[in-house]
Symmetry: C2
Subunit: 276 residues, 2 copies
Amino acid sequence: MGRKVQGNLVIIGGAEDKREDKVILREVVRLAGGRNAKVAVVAVAAEDQEHLGSEYENIFRELGVAGVGVVHVNSRRDASLQANVAEIAGATGVFFTGGDQLRITSLMGGTELDRELHRAYERGVVIAGTSAGASAMTDTMIVEGDQEDAPRNLAIRMAPGMGLLEEVVVDQHFAQRGRIGRLMLAVAQNPYILGVGIDEDTAVVVDAQARFKVIGSGTVTVIDGTSLEHSSVSERELNQPVAIIGATVHVLAPGYGFDLASRLPLPPHGAVTAAR
Amino acid sequence: MGRKVQGNLVIIGGAEDKREDKVILREVVRLAGGRNAKVAVVAVAAEDQEHLGSEYENIFRELGVAGVGVVHVNSRRDASLQANVAEIAGATGVFFTGGDQLRITSLMGGTELDRELHRAYERGVVIAGTSAGASAMTDTMIVEGDQEDAPRNLAIRMAPGMGLLEEVVVDQHFAQRGRIGRLMLAVAQNPYILGVGIDEDTAVVVDAQARFKVIGSGTVTVIDGTSLEHSSVSERELNQPVAIIGATVHVLAPGYGFDLASRLPLPPHGAVTAAR
């Protein structure tokens, strides 16, 4: 996993606390420079971008940043508007709201805004995303899939994501929407992929050394297919339940970390673990 | 795992098909002797035992058995009634309905009916149970626990079960009610325990050689804690999310089996698996 980039990613499972301690949003601000932060809120995923954009703009102002701007994208033309590109170019932090991840990729993918986003990431800007905004960060993203049901063949839809994080597929609202079945299916389809399922009000913060830590109030479920012995996913029967043998699963609580390169969980200091 | 017993267990995840192909209920009848089967329906778990008892009685009659009786237990005194004990003593198959697993154990545990049930199992009678009736079969059973949330410390309640199956904890309505969090927690509390989560309209059939096979329309999730490296479950903080590192998870589709003694999944004939 060659990572040349300097930026952090804050990948949020949706429904992050916006009223009380705001642990996750404070961390986004801290990584973006605290009082000197200039945050660009990108509301492209949402239908009601005015409302959601304003909500986050107010929250970031309350948290005490130097500046906040909202980028509305309702068409691919919007994604090429110089004003929008400039907002990203001048930002120290970019925040993708929730909504529909396909809106993010289909409206922004391959535009000047998309290129400016990647340049921002490469110069060390923190890119944060919640819900759909989280799922869209990876090379390949889940678009749709059965929830609260056994993983069924071909029941999951995936599409190319924004490519800020390799080798990982993210799912959000994870425990709350019973999504482990579809994440197991995503990993079984290509066990090279690490599945990362993030609960509501929980986030992973990924650093430039390809390690992440868990913050917030829930857990992050990691599905590692390296140990996978077998799955029936290549059998060409539509809608049959899929068998998956030998996946390794970790549930990471706040304070725990994970090394993406070695795929090793990182318990907090002082935690007792089995000798390796 | 020393298993001297001769009986089969049919452990059903709830909501088994009662109208169409009735795959699971047919298998119960087959194991109980088909046309010669004498089935005792034990409705102790349910509040409305008349209704549920009659429903199953009708279904078993339609499936073509030699005889069906219903055992109603609303008090520990009922659990000692000679008529009820005789129903079990004469049965070739016993079927526990759904409801509340604590009703099963608190009303029957330690009574003559309980002893007769164990004698039946030892002489080769098939014992089937659905939903609460499934959970109650093991040494230790889940009574209650958070659903659709991150596993939280002390959030799960367990109690002694009927003791027909050792080393295993069963959860039912598994995918449908988002119960993997609490099953992970149960296994983390004692990784000696194998977690078996059964979806709706799905069952495991356990034989006298301590192997099971999956039948029905969903999947069975097995959580094997042998590989568990660490969990934070012994830290004395109420309601904090629990970290679990290194669990092995299998999702078994219909046709797949599992060897409880060796903890090895058994793919159907012809399935390609990684060399061991």
